[in-house]
Assembly symmetry: C2
Homo-oligomer: 484 residues x 2
């Protein structure tokens, strides 16, 4: 699964991809452990809860809904709505209520595992296509192969289905069966498979050592198993004689606080702070390193999608570990959440901001982010929107699709005079050049086939790591420092 798809977010989704909103999470227990203070009772059995007036007001509205609303109502949904509304009233996007299903997805994400079949998929020529099955997963065991095209899931056709909807159909609870019909190159009849969904651990850490001695470790998110995996990979790289390290946390939305602390620790000399947590009374608690620091140069590669735990790491390594920050200003999320999964007693979960976190020097990154020491912006085609292909794009028209087209053509080396969405004569000329080289009818108009071919060429370009200018910059910085 060594697939560097995360930089092509617009083009690839994974069955393994679970959305983690920018988060920095603690379990309720960890808070208690961390602060040394007992956790206040929060199960509704305590002394407080709602006052009589509050209960009366909420009850009156519930009565109106039950007795007067023009449709039958699911009471449980109304109560869920009330809790969501309470959290929304806080005005903090990171304090949210999740009903049972969302809560489960969130927990899976934090655990770095999910239940499913374990196949990465993408859309290719509009079809749901397997990128690779994950080692040891039901998909691999059943013989699903890379490039297999999924035709249907449990009898439901995937034709024209959005990738995220396809993924939703494929995933499901552990132990349940799913029927796949697959089209495979070189096999004339569709392949029918029945898979039993299982727990799938997904990889959050990818490491490699380059010929020049620079190691690159990419961390996709800080799940519970990420700390251990990082330290394994770090030890392996060091054993091979690594001369410098790039830690790549681009588009890493965060994760679990103790995990990022365990990852930062080796890079921060003993006794120096890694992070400070400040509660609402203003009391600060420092987490001090027990590590030793490293004698090789380290760069943290970040972008505007690097949030929360990623920023804890970047802040600690820069301010207390002497690392260099490369890339873009980070997301800017300086708060700590706790997942309260027992408060409501029904599998739902309250994730609530309980503190600010500060860098070793006492900076609060919230809404500002961390600035890179060495800025490196991604090329515009990394984030370009896909072509809609709804209708043929014609010269002398304007539109978002034309803008994307111009960015793609320029990325592929064709001459375009503008990237503003006006389909100029020069844009048409570039389209003709592309069509000629791709052996398509040379029309200067972008029909579905031309659009698909342009996108395929762009995906090839993006997947080639040599074109990753931000990563190259970080490697260069580390190389130069290592050479001194």
């Amino acid at each position: 699964m060594q697939f560097r798809g995360r930089t092509v977010a617009a083009f690839v989704a994974l069955t393994v991809a679970v959305t983690v909103l920018a988060t920095l999470t603690l379990s309720d227990q960890w808070v208690a452990l961390g602060s040394g203070k007992p956790t206040a009772a929060a199960d509704g059995s305590g002394q407080s809860g709602l006052t009589g007036t509050e209960t009366g007001k909420l009850g009156a509205v519930m009565n109106l809904i039950e007795q007067k609303y023009f449709r039958e109502v699911d009471r449980a949904k109304v109560v869920d709505g009330a809790i969501s509304g309470m959290m929304e009233a806080l005005g903090d996007p990171y304090s949210v209520y999740m009903e049972k299903t969302s809560a489960q997805h969130f927990s899976e994400s934090i655990e770095g595992s999910f239940t499913g079949i374990g196949a990465e998929v993408t859309l290719q020529d509009g079809k749901v296509t397997v990128v690779s099955p994950i080692k040891g997963s039901p998909a691999e065991k059943a013989g699903v192969l890379a490039k297999d095209v999924l035709i249907s899931v449990d009898g439901e056709s995937l034709e024209g289905v959005a990738l995220s909807d396809a993924v939703a159909k494929i995933r499901g609870p552990k132990g349940t069966k799913v029927k796949l019909v697959i089209a495979r190159a070189g096999v004339s009849t569709p392949v029918h498979l029945v898979l039993v969904r299982d727990d799938i651990d997904y990889e959050t850490v990818y490491a490699n050592l380059r010929d020049d001695g620079v190691g690159v470790i990419e961390i996709r998110q800080f799940s519970l198993n990420t700390g251990e995996r990082f330290l394994e990979e770090l030890a392996a790289l060091e054993k091979k004689g690594m001369k410098g390290l790039v830690i790549d946390v681009r588009n890493n939305p965060g994760g679990v606080l103790p995990v990022v602390v365990s990852i930062a620790q080796p890079f921060v000399p003993k006794g120096k702070p890694i992070v400070m947590v400040e509660d609402r009374t203003g009391e600060r608690e420092k987490t001090l390193s027990k590590g030793t620091g490293k004698d090789y140069p380290v760069a943290v590669l970040m972008n505007k999608g690097s949030a929360s735990a990623s920023e804890v790491l970047a802040g600690a390594l820069k301010e207390a570990g002497g690392a260099v920050l490369v890339g873009e200003t980070s997301f800017g999320k300086g708060t700590v959440q706790v997942s309260y999964d027992k408060a409501t007693g029904d599998g739902s979960l309250v994730k609530m901001t309980i503190a600010k976190w500060l860098t070793p020097d006492g900076n609060w990154v919230h809404e500002n982010g961390l600035k890179p020491d060495i800025e490196s912006l991604p090329p515009d085609y990394y984030t370009v929107a896909r072509l809609s292909k709804a209708k043929t794009q014609l010269p002398d028209t304007i539109g978002e699709d034309n803008r994307s087209l111009q960015i793609m053509l320029a990325a592929l080396g064709y001459k375009t005079d503008r990237k503003d969405g006006y389909f100029s004569a020069e844009t048409a000329e570039a389209v003709k050049q592309f069509q000629k080289q791709a052996q398509l009818p040379v029309t200067g108009e972008v029909d579905k086939t031309t659009a698909e071919k342009i996108e395929e060429s762009l995906i090839v370009l993006i997947r080639n790591e040599q074109n990753d200018s931000q990563l190259n910059k970080a490697i260069q910085v580390v190389s130069q420092k290592a050479a001194k």
Copy 2:
């Protein structure tokens, strides 16, 4: 105040304008009267309310918020959030919770009155300018004149302030004082005035009789006093020998159900249904007319902003009164709300959908709207967005501002080859023509001055009723019928 500003919504806001979301409202009492059934107790004192489990769950979350959230919290806001969340969970945009201030604005709107100074204002050359003071209002009594420019309110400058924000500063509770500084043409020093805010009744009905004998009555919304006002104006027109009637409910968002019933009644022969209300059990209650019908032709002029009570009127007059519908398909809102203002006991209000309403023939217009018998679409310049004026618009660029520019130039009679937002050579030529006629420097570029002059010309065009093609169509239909 005979100002037909409602068709120029993008350009004019009024101090008297109170937003009524598409609504069809009953008070709790009217429901009881209307249905002949007693209203169920809904004050929280009844037998039901929240169950122990529900109270426990909500209380647990309140405890977490009180004890753990990283900032101090206003409990009342959290409870308001809970109620909003309960209403949102219904998935019905017309069922909403309004806290005290919103509730008061809503009630004012339903009553057709508000507290303020009673002046219509608009933005002219970026300045808050009085269109006209309302008869008998504090503004009129204090000597505020049309074209007065408001410089400051209570010492706060209005320079660069959005119109809606300016209006918010001017309005306030009855009996409170407001200090205005006014610039007046022909007066060298600013005029200082102190006004005492009062209840302002605003007009919802405008009537006139044309030379050709066709009467036009515009109803802006169905407030509590609208029925009486309509019947007054109708009687006056009939007395003057009206030969046919256009009832204009364009952009009329609705109002109070018994009011629209009273307005429809004269046009629907005795015993025929005006409207049917269907509760959640499917039981239908017909409201039958006690009227006689009219022997002159009637057209209802509507557009996609004609909602709710407007659609009740259009449906009744077409299906039971033989009227012709002219204009555009209406908004499509087929439900009835009740305002429960006593349930929560603190000035807040729960507006909740309690029934569907159906036309005399049993059609439910919800989400579909009523189709006109004779379609007449407004010209594109009626809804064009204002120019942002943030920077000079230049040839060979694209953007929304260019699109608006092209629509405006075409409306003003200048030749433009396109309206897609590409600033073509022909667009530049049209700009030059305009600049020449307006005696501006002829640059072919649209700077702030040129943009303002173009908009001013457009406003003159729009305010001229002779250019109102939808109204003209409706008048023509009625005229032709009357001539037969």
